[in-house]
């Protein structure tokens, strides 16, 4: 079988990507999964030639491309995955309530992007120095919940499954799912190297495998949940957390060049990722493989 080395993210309750390795033999592939705790660590692995394909946020793919890493966006595997959560002991009605508050967020990710877009939309200025309407506090994903819990911040724009946990453990309440900006729901993308893309036959089978895995998960939510909870998390993720997380971040196949282009534009606008020479979405979003795979498998 042809070997494809796949970089996956650790807190990936988006189990479809992980599930690919289970069904890979059907497509004449052997998928070796490498799990990374942070998306940024995948990029050097790609450069070092250790990884052929990766699950990554759209902004991560943009940042990689902007630095000249030869990756292509070939599909989107999940949507959403962001939530603005406020302290459970405070009253929240809208994003406007964030004025004068400390808001925690992880730097450089989709969560920051949508947060800034929301603040902008509500006419709030922001900085990380505490001298504007909203005081941004940059931290690692894991630490943001901690800080909210110990009331060192007032609100956060958090990823999944952390935001679901904040809700289920009762120290956070949802303010909004921040998808009503020009960006819409942020998409997580599947990227492959140009080298793999050039190897058309393998790339096609890889995409087919991806589509099949995702379809299986969409069609069999119970089996998907069982796989994620038992195989990936060994029973340590609660049903409730899984359901909530998935609700805010469903499986999908699609991504559009427009969405990626909007992401790039907004990143430039808010200075996220401080892109030196922003790439053009059309140059690296290649959806032909995905279309072919969907067609072959008969999925609309």
């Amino acid at each position: 079988a042809d070997v494809v080395r796949l970089g996956n993210l650790k807190f990936a309750h988006y189990g479809a990507i992980a599930y690919m390795k289970e069904i890979a033999p059907q497509y004449g592939l052997e998928i070796q999964e490498r799990v990374f705790p942070k998306g940024i660590d995948i990029i050097p692995a790609i450069i070092a030639g250790e990884i052929d394909a990766a699950a990554s946020a759209a902004d991560g793919a943009v940042a990689a491309r902007a630095t000249g890493v030869p990756v292509l966006v070939v599909a989107g595997f999940a949507k959403g995955g962001a939530r603005i959560v406020g302290r459970g002991d405070m009253k929240w009605s809208s994003v406007a309530d964030l004025k004068g508050k400390k808001v925690g967020v992880a730097r450089g990710g989709a969560q920051e992007l949508v947060l800034l877009a929301e603040l902008d939309k509500h006419g709030l200025s922001f900085s990380d120095k505490g001298d504007k309407d909203v005081h941004l506090v940059y931290m690692a994903y894991a630490d943001i919940n901690q800080a909210l819990l110990s009331r060192n911040i007032d609100a956060m724009c958090q990823s999944e499954p952390q935001s679901s946990q904040a809700l289920s453990q009762g120290f956070g309440v949802e303010i909004i799912k921040p998808y009503d900006t020009p960006l819409g729901e942020p998409v997580r993308t599947l990227v492959i190297t140009e080298k793999l893309y050039a190897n058309k036959d393998v790339a096609e089978r890889f995409l087919k495998c991806f589509v099949a895995a995702t379809k299986f998960f969409i069609d069999n939510p119970d089996k998907a949940q069982a796989y994620v909870r038992e195989k990936m998390f060994k029973g340590q993720l609660s049903d409730e957390d899984y359901r909530q997380a998935l609700e805010n971040s469903p499986f999908s196949y699609d991504v559009t060049a427009d969405h990626v282009q909007t992401t790039i534009d907004m990143m430039v606008k808010y200075g996220i990722g401080k892109l030196a020479n922003p790439p053009k979405a059309a140059d690296f979003v290649k959806l032909d493989l995905l279309a072919k795979a969907r067609k072959d498998l008969g999925i609309q």
């Binding site: 650790k10 807190f11 799990v35 050097p44 070092a48 250790e50 919940n145 952390q162 340590q236």
Partner: protein
Amino acid sequence: MGKADLDAPGLAARLARALAVPVALLALWQLAAVSGLVNPHILPSPWQVLRRWAAYASPTEPLAQGMNPLAWAFSGELPHDALATAVRVAVGFAIGAGLALPLGLAMGSFDRVYNLLNPLLQVLRPIPPIAYIPLAILWFGLGNPPAYFLISLGAFFPVLMNTIAGVRQVDRIYIRAGRNLGAGSATMFTRIILPAATPLILTGMRVGVGVAFICVIVAEMIAVNDGLGFRILEAREFFWSDKIIAGMLTIGLMGLAIDTCMDRLNAHLLRWHRGAGGR
């Protein structure tokens, strides 16, 4: 023999003494947890940690027929993680200390070598291991090799610094005596400088092991799927405080075990030493 007994109290007594402070702290912690003074999400009660620890250490599957019961008993996540981390620390430490020791001996002994290499090493020393991750992946790929690199980097500098200092503080009278008795460089190193510098080198090794443990958690960020550091990072992502603490304590106990061995080694290697004991 009453005196000998006083000098070497029974194992039970020593254990009791060693456990006094930790047990007291645990009691305090349990009290704080029960009284609701601390948020259980951040600092769960010792009891809860213990339960989580037990779950973490127990086999995940029931004993299957025909399976070796011993293998089964150690089939849990924790034994597997602990072993993986121990191996990484051991290999990384062996490489780091193995390079630092001869280099330290050379730098401590020859001012020329010291002056040549010291500026470079001092520039490299404070650079945090996390910053080396991209280079580690580039040079060593994924999995264990970059982990060894990062851990050995962490262990390297304490051993190096203490070896240099150890060599430099050897009383020159012994060096003179050795040279006068005809010792060549090799003999000087192995039979005079090394033993005379042993107190400091051993201390450097103990500190080095500690730093290696600090680094293993960074190292286990890079595409490995087991190890205590990996598990702590994972638990952090999911905000499982009890499992974080269980992992921390496991690392701590591993460190204690290593340290106890080091203490023994120390006492044996320095049995000639007329130290401050028995004043």
